[in-house]
């Protein structure tokens, strides 16, 4: 017998009483993901005040050393301490991620809400422009921006931020369309609320959870993008510690000193993994509650 939807609805209808309590606690996914992200953030902050060696300190006498008690992760071809570089690099990664996500959210969220709230032609136009941007390779955008503004962390952040706008706009728009269909928005209109007040008081608070999830996912993408740009020489300039730059600089010695590639690679993978776990965990945490409210 086919019993799909009706049953699952009945079954889920029964669940809140039982599983809400367990959901209120922090899931393992959030704990692990959040732990990794927090660890990287703490290391980044620590590197502001202390690193084992000066991350920019070139020391020709101790080039390409293996792991030792003096240099835990060894040194690179300029004799710089790899651990210190990794620690300082996490700072660049975090700053780039935060600013890029900030830029994307600041522009993408209002665009998404606006296009959901209007029935006029320009709402549709905004979304089509959004699609266009989505189809445009982010790397190409970064190359263009670099060509215009020159290489640098700021250029990289802006490029990654602009490339992340569409995903925010889309997610927020679909959530906002759902909110706009509810009777409480209708009630607010009937109460005489202006569109701007409806956007701030009703739509935005009810799509916040979507924004948080999207932010953690976009952050992960930004970390990867920063590494890729720096690797291509379009991101952090020489002298600025960055995981992507470390990859680039270690590349020519891949067969001589593979650890120069492995350590930053692990760092990038760990950061992306942590952020993705956090995003998934948050999504699982928010979604059932959203469903219960409808």
């Amino acid at each position: 017998m086919t019993l799909p939807g009706g049953l699952s609805r009945l079954a889920t209808g029964l669940q809140p009483a039982s599983s809400q309590r367990s959901r209120r606690g922090v899931s393992a996914t959030i704990a692990i993901g959040g732990g990794i992200v927090a660890f990287i953030a703490i290391v980044g902050l620590l590197s502001l005040v202390w690193t084992p060696y000066d991350p920019g300190g070139i020391d020709p006498t101790s080039r390409l050393q293996l792991s030792s008690s003096a240099h835990w992760l060894g040194t690179d071809k300029f004799g710089r301490d790899v651990l210190s570089l990794l620690m300082a690099g996490s700072r660049t990664t975090l700053v780039v991620g935060i600013v890029a996500v900030g830029v994307a959210a600041l522009i993408g969220v209002p665009l998404g809400i606006m296009s959901a709230m209007t029935t006029r032609w320009w709402g549709e136009a905004v979304m089509r422009a959004n699609d266009l941007l989505l189809a445009f390779p982010a790397l190409l955008l970064a190359i263009m921006l670099t060509a215009v503004h020159g290489q640098g962390v700021v250029t990289a952040m802006v490029a990654i931020g602009i490339a992340s706008i569409p995903s925010f706009a889309r997610v927020v728009r679909s959530g906002a369309i759902g909110v706009m269909k509810t009777e409480y928005v209708l009630a607010a209109r009937a109460a005489g609320r202006r569109p701007l007040a409806i956007a701030f008081r009703h739509v935005l608070p009810n799509v916040t959870s979507l924004i948080i999830v999207q932010a953690s996912v976009s952050f992960a993408i930004a970390v990867l993008a920063e590494a890729a740009l720096s690797y291509l020489g379009l991101g952090a300039p020489p002298g600025t510690p960055s995981w992507g730059r470390m990859l680039q600089e270690g590349q020519e010695l891949l067969f001589v000193a593979p650890r120069l590639e492995v350590f930053p690679g692990i760092a990038i993978a760990l950061a992306v993994l942590g952020l993705n776990l956090l995003g998934d965990g948050l999504r699982d945490r928010f979604d059932p509650r959203l469903r219960d409210r409808r």
Binding site: T182, E183, A187, A190, A191, G192, H202, P205, N206, R293
Partner: protein
């Protein structure tokens, strides 16, 4: 002072495949009247209600409230209507913003009018709908369906409206709570001398609440008249069907089975 709604030849077109949600609907509602609109899903009653409330615009036609045609007014010039006319919705879950406290929900129409210090009025309204003052600082999900509908009614009454429009306000409620909410609406309408526009799919609910009723089918008003008259002697085939198909406890206990219901419904449709 007179107040009336006049609606003529209202038809709503949505783009692409043209859907005639309403065709040539005309009706007048006198001040102080309790007016019911009955019909089944998709008959256009919700569209009509939204147009009356200024939340939607007719493709053609006139909607006059107190002599002002609201059909062509832009939203920012509907302020007078927002003070005069308020709505109660069907779903007590989705009609209250889950992220807002009850005091903010009820105060919303007041805040929209630029009023400050709304708390005394909110507490007064909570009392009027039979809720404790503590309710003000709680969130909607902490209330049962019936209590949420009381909150919704309190919000509607906040700007001291003259017209209350209720869209299926009890169809999502438990039977044991439905009677309470119907009584509350009736009491408030009496006490505040409101004009009530009450939309429902259930003729027996409308019969209890309203003096006059319009029966709608496929975007048209097929019959309009005193509630008792339509309930006891429906003229239009569709009204007859609606009356015949509704199961009634007393008739059922007197031996009216599902087969009788079905036979009567079909007979009502076919009788010339």
């Amino acid at each position: 002072m007179t107040r009336e709604f006049r609606r003529q030849r209202t038809s709503l077109f949505t783009p692409a495949p043209v859907v005639h949600a309403l065709r040539g609907v005309s009706l007048d509602i006198a001040p102080g009247e309790r007016f019911g609109i009955v019909g089944e899903s998709g008959c256009g009653k919700s569209t009509l209600l939204r147009i009356i409330a200024g939340l939607d615009q007719p493709t053609s036609g006139v909607v006059e409230v107190d002599g002002v045609d609201i059909a062509r007014l832009p939203e920012r010039r509907l302020g007078f209507l927002r003070e005069k006319l308020q709505l109660v919705f069907q779903d007590p879950m989705s009609s209250l913003d889950p992220r807002m406290k009850v005091r903010d929900i009820i105060a919303e129409p007041l805040v929209a009018q630029g009023k400050r210090d709304t708390l005394p009025r909110v507490l007064e309204l909570l009392e009027a709908v039979g809720l404790q003052p503590e309710a003000a600082d709680r969130y909607p999900h902490q209330f049962s369906g019936g209590q949420r509908q009381r909150i919704s009614i309190a919000r509607a009454l906040a700007p001291d409206p003259q017209i209350l429009v209720a869209d299926e306000p009890v169809s999502a409620l438990d039977v044991s709570v439905r009677a309470q909410v119907l009584n509350l609406i009736a009491e408030l309408v009496d006490r505040l001398s409101l004009t009530l526009v009450f939309v429902s799919h259930d003729l027996s609910v409308v019969r209890h609440v309203c003096d006059r009723v319009a029966v709608m089918s496929r975007g048209e008003v097929v019959e309009i008249g005193a509630t008792e008259q339509i309930y006891d002697a429906p003229q239009h085939p569709y009204s007859r069907q609606l009356v015949a198909a509704a199961p009634r406890l007393r008739a059922a206990l007197a031996g009216r089975t599902a087969a009788d219901l079905a036979a009567d419904t079909l007979a009502a449709k076919e009788r010339p």
